[in-house]
């Protein structure tokens, strides 16, 4: 299998994503934002960062970059597309996912290790987890508060498209554990076709136990398994709680 990490000029998690995938044995290429094709890839990642400085709104300008036309066609054909942090913002701006990400309610950038709960595993990105599993993954964003109107939320809920929620150490999605004011503590959602996943936490920063958590690996491993690139003993891989050190 082959993965592509899109490189916008202000991407800054592109190298981390390539590293995480490469360490799992995936051949991964950088694809420049001025390119116009993602043909031949089995996974496309929109990495975190500040794509075009994020001067207007996060992801607003990136949405119009030349590569995005190809990315949209690629997604429309049912291929796997993962947007992390700024990548999630771009997916929303581009209309590939509903809703929008607005300024954190504290008005401050927030960087910390964060618990998130897996809400649904009937998708290619989390199927190796157990529903309700708690993952500990870093977040780092200033505009990560998910916002959508009531009709959209209802639809997301009904179609089991909310995949991750911010929770506390006991796995409860209480307001105190919500780092940015996201509606219904939403940390990640999927599209109707269940092939486009956007999330604010950074799984690529949680793939190495030395960094305090390798809970992010399960997301990449799920992707690989669903593409048939690895076969895993599901029980061994599925954490019911965090596998992190602390």
């Amino acid at each position: 299998m082959k993965a592509a990490v899109i490189r916008f000029p202000g991407s800054n998690c592109d190298q981390d994503c390539v590293l995480a995938l490469s360490e799992l044995g995936v051949k991964t290429d950088y694809v420049w934002h001025k390119d116009t094709s993602v043909a031949g890839y089995d996974l496309v990642v929109l990495p975190g960062g500040f794509s075009y400085g994020d001067y207007l709104r996060c992801g607003a300008i990136a949405r119009f970059s030349p590569i995005m036309k190809a990315v949209k066609e690629y997604a429309a054909a049912g291929n796997l597309l993962l947007g992390i942090c700024n990548g999630f913002q771009i997916l929303c701006e581009a209309g590939l996912l509903p809703g929008a990400l607005i300024r954190n309610r504290s008005l401050h950038f927030v960087c910390q290790h964060q618990n998130v709960r897996v809400e649904d595993i009937s998708n290619p990105f989390l199927h190796l987890c157990r529903t309700g599993a708690r993952l500990r993954i870093p977040i780092a964003h200033g505009e990560g508060s998910y916002s959508a109107d009531a009709a959209t939320l209802l639809q997301l809920e009904r179609q089991n498209r909310i995949l991750l929620r911010y929770v506390n150490n006991n796995g409860a999605a209480i307001d105190l554990a919500n780092p940015n004011g996201s509606v219904e503590s939403i940390a990640g959602i999927i599209n109707e076709g269940r092939n486009v996943f956007g999330l604010m936490p950074h799984p690529e920063r949680a793939c190495d136990r030395r960094l305090g958590s390798d809970d992010g690996r399960i997301i990449f491993e799920s992707i690989l398994a669903s593409l048939g690139a690895i076969s895993l003993d599901e029980d061994a891989a599925a954490p019911t709680t965090s596998r992190s050190l602390t």
Partner: protein
């Protein structure tokens, strides 16, 4: 020739900046301010070769996000 674009969060959308500004004004000792909303003001200098429809397109597609924001466009001169 100039265009001015005002982009404001929709009434239904949470505006944490607006709340923070109102609270700060109260702290400053001016309770007369009942509410505040914070948006963007964008001033464009034009050479006249554009149409108003083109400007609206830019406002809708780029300068604002219709999911959470409304915009107002005024072309001058």
């Amino acid at each position: 020739m100039k265009a001015k674009v005002i982009v404001l969060p929709k009434q239904s959308v949470l505006d944490p900046q607006g709340v923070a500004v109102r609270d700060a004004i109260h702290h400053h000792g001016l309770p007369a301010v009942k509410a505040a909303r914070v948006g963007k003001f964008i001033e464009l200098e034009l050479d006249g070769s554009q149409t108003e429809a083109q400007l609206h397109e830019v406002c809708r597609d780029l300068l604002s996000n219709p999911v959470i924001e409304d915009y107002k466009l005024v072309v001058e001169g």
